[in-house]
Structure formats: C-alpha cells, structure tokens
Point group: C2
Chain length 219, copies 2
DNA sequence: ACGTTGAGATTGCCG
DNA sequence: CGGCAATGTCAACGT
C-alpha cells in the first residue's frame, strides 16, 4: 500500500463529473491498484476514488487513472509532503455476526413474539419467486408468511406481497396472511403494507438476542 | 491525519459483531476522530471503522474507540510498523455535476421536452409514499407524474407505479399518467413500464444542460 | 432530531 | 456477466 500526502487538485470524469480544488490530501493506492483520495474528515468515504481494475500512469506532477469503462481520474500534484509504501500482505477477512439470517433464526424459535399462537412450519420456505423467510401456522386456520428485515422499508413490503400472492395459489396453505417483521418500520412502509392488506410487527431484536430461543419467557 | 501501519486484531460490537484476525493493516485516524482500518485491497471501503463523534482511549498495545450510541471498536496492536501524523487542514470540498437533482431542475424548466404541451405544476410533489420528482398538467386533462433518473431501471418503474397509484386517489389530480425520464432506460424497465401502463422518455441531458432552461428552442 | 431518498453507492450471491 | 438483495450502507435535504 502506497500512501502519498500531497497538495493536489483532482478531476473525475465518468458516471458524473467532479472536481476537487487545490488542498492537502491523502492519496491511498492499494495493492489491487485502486486509488482513493481522502480529506481529514468526512467519515471513511474518500472524496474521490477509482476502483480496480484500472491503469495508473504516473508522470511528473500528474497521475492519470483510467479504467476499462472509460472513466478517468486525474490527480495533479502541486507539492508532495510524504510518499511511503508498505507491504501489508493478504488479509484473512472480516467475520460478521448479527445480520438478517441470524435474526430470522432467532424469530423462528420464538414465533409467538410475532403474534400470539403462531407456530413454525419452516424457515426459508421455497416459492417460485424465492424463499419466504418464515412460514407459520395460524391457530385460526390458514398460514402466515413472514418477511424478516433489520429495517422495514417499502421494498420489503413489495417483496412480501409477491410471496403472499404466490402462496395463496396453494390450496394447502390458503388463506395466507403476510407480516413484515423488523426492528424499525418506516411510515411509508406501514402505509403501503396497510394498503396491500399486510401486517407489520416491530421486534426488539436486542431483547430477542439476549433472551435466546431456547429459554421460555418468565413473564 | 494519523496513519498507523501495524499488525493488529480488531473487534467491533455495535449494530452487529465483527472480528478481524491478526494481520498487518493501515489504521487511519482523521481530524474529526473517525477511525478506519484498511487492508491492502477491497476498494475504498475499510474492513472496520468507527465514525465521529466518538472517543479514542489509547493504552499501550490497545486502542478502545467508543461512541455515544454504545458501539465499541477495540484494536489490539501486536506490532507497529509505522506511525505518522500529517496536518492536512480543511478541505474546500467536492464539486459535483450531473446528479439527479440537477437533471430534475433542468427538466422542470423544459417540460415540453418530456412531451409537447405539458406544463409544470410543481417539483417534489409530496405523497404519503414520498415526493414525486415532477408533477405536470396534461393539456388533454388530468395530471402527469414524472420520475427522473440518471439511469432508468426496474426500481424506478416500481417507484413511479406506486406514486401514480397513490395520486389517482386524489380526485383533483385524476386521471394520472406516469412517465419515467432518464438518459438511458434499460430494456427490462421499458418492458415493465409498458406492462404497468407507464410511459418512458429518454432525455439527452448533455444537450439539456447546454441549452439551459431559460432559452427557447430554435427548432 | 428524525425520516426519506439518492449514490460514481459498494459488495456478495446466484443463475 | 448480469440481475438481485443486503449494507454497521453514507450523505444530503426537508420537516
């Protein structure tokens, strides 16, 4: 990884056009060839960048980065403060925990938190349009399809509506209700869900995680 | 901006949990206090990070970053290869050209380019599902809702369909037609739009920009 | 402060 | 390679 601190101006032409006036910035060039230009603020996102694969041509005081899609990043170096290179080697990569799949599995073990009386038929129930996160039996008869999200947005409502429409065609399952489960559900998503005849339930995932799926509730 | 190259392990606990095994990486600390941990590849996104505002406590061989939301990033430093600090100063910021808002405003001044005879009612017309980019009066009666995109894809068609469906409920606007405007519209989006009864119009934004909104057309 | 939308989104998955 | 969906999405803007 090469790290250059320099006073520079930058021009990008590609999906849009962008220009950076003259200032001191960090230019990061990674081993895969990608280039990122960072200011001393503004979270982790660089001001400008060019992802791999690309081609970097270095002239005195001017770097030109181009990629096969015809995008171009031109860095004009007015004054170089520092220019260092380090060999980092390969990275073992990030291990994640706590994404949608885990939340779905926790809810599968506590379906009564979605609505009292519901019992699990199976998770990832397959349909022609893709798998439904949870399929539950309604004690009043019929079936309940559940779409699990961290955040409930309009897209999730549309997805659930398609599943319910599809499952209704199966006489063994009909009638089918749909419920969108998420930690937070946006007002627009609630409006659209109501208009589509779908239910929405907000779930406290933090409490769900702590309680676990094997322990019965004490209250 | 402080740049530390070090062999480290990293643990994050917050919206999810994540762990980075021992390896050599770049740790970037910006003036606003945000911390980012980069490998030597993988585009510009860091493996792990903590945005400002936060608090960094530095012990020998161990950095602990916490923020007011209760998230925590722990960096264990096994071996420091390099540790440098540079003062970059404030950045004048990025100048962009060619984004959706600009295209929308240009079209608002030249609605006849969407379809002859159309006149502007207002831009960003609010609905329960979000704002419609442009609402136009149809000389033949009724209203036209326009969704403006740089690239017309299936998502834009779905979005427009929801708006039209919603606007139809308002007797002062009905009947409502929908038109998707973009520089390029994908074949799939055209098919879906036709199936939904929506129009599509491809716009030459470069010419629109050069012509400006105040100049009448000469031909 | 909160919510919604756009982004040069990026990134991974699967067909 | 292209579509689809998730992301600790981020960042801008309006209420």
């Amino acid at each position: 990884m090469r790290l250059v601190v320099a006073e520079c101006t930058v021009d990008y032409r590609g999906r849009l056009e962008a220009h950076l006036p003259r200032a001191v910035r960090l230019i990061m060039v990674k081993a895969d060839g990608c280039v990122a230009i960072h200011a001393d603020g503004g979270a982790y996102k660089p001001l400008n960048w060019m992802n791999a694969p690309n081609s970097l041509v270095e002239e005195p005081g001017r770097w030109v980065v181009t990629n096969p899609k015809g995008e171009e990043l031109v860095i004009t170096l007015h004054r170089v403060v520092s220019d260092t290179t380090h060999h980092l080697g390969p990275d073992p990569g990030l291990q994640k925990d706590g994404v949608e799949a885990q939340l779905r599995d926790l809810l599968a073990g506590r379906p009564e938190l979605i609505e009292p009386g519901l019992t699990l038929i199976r998770r990832e129930y397959p349909t022609d349009l893709g798998p439904v996160d949870l399929l539950l039996a309604d004690p009043g008869g019929g079936t309940v399809a559940v779409e699990v999200k961290r955040r409930g947005e309009i897209d999730g409502v549309e997805q659930l509506a398609r599943y319910v429409e599809r499952l209704e065609l199966d006489p063994r399952l009909a009638p089918v209700r749909g419920i969108l489960c998420a930690e937070r559900i946006s007002p627009q998503a609630k409006v659209l869900a109501a208009a589509r005849g779908l239910g929405t339930t907000e779930i406290d995932y933090a409490r769900l995680r702590n309680a676990g799926s094997s322990e019965p509730t004490l209250f």
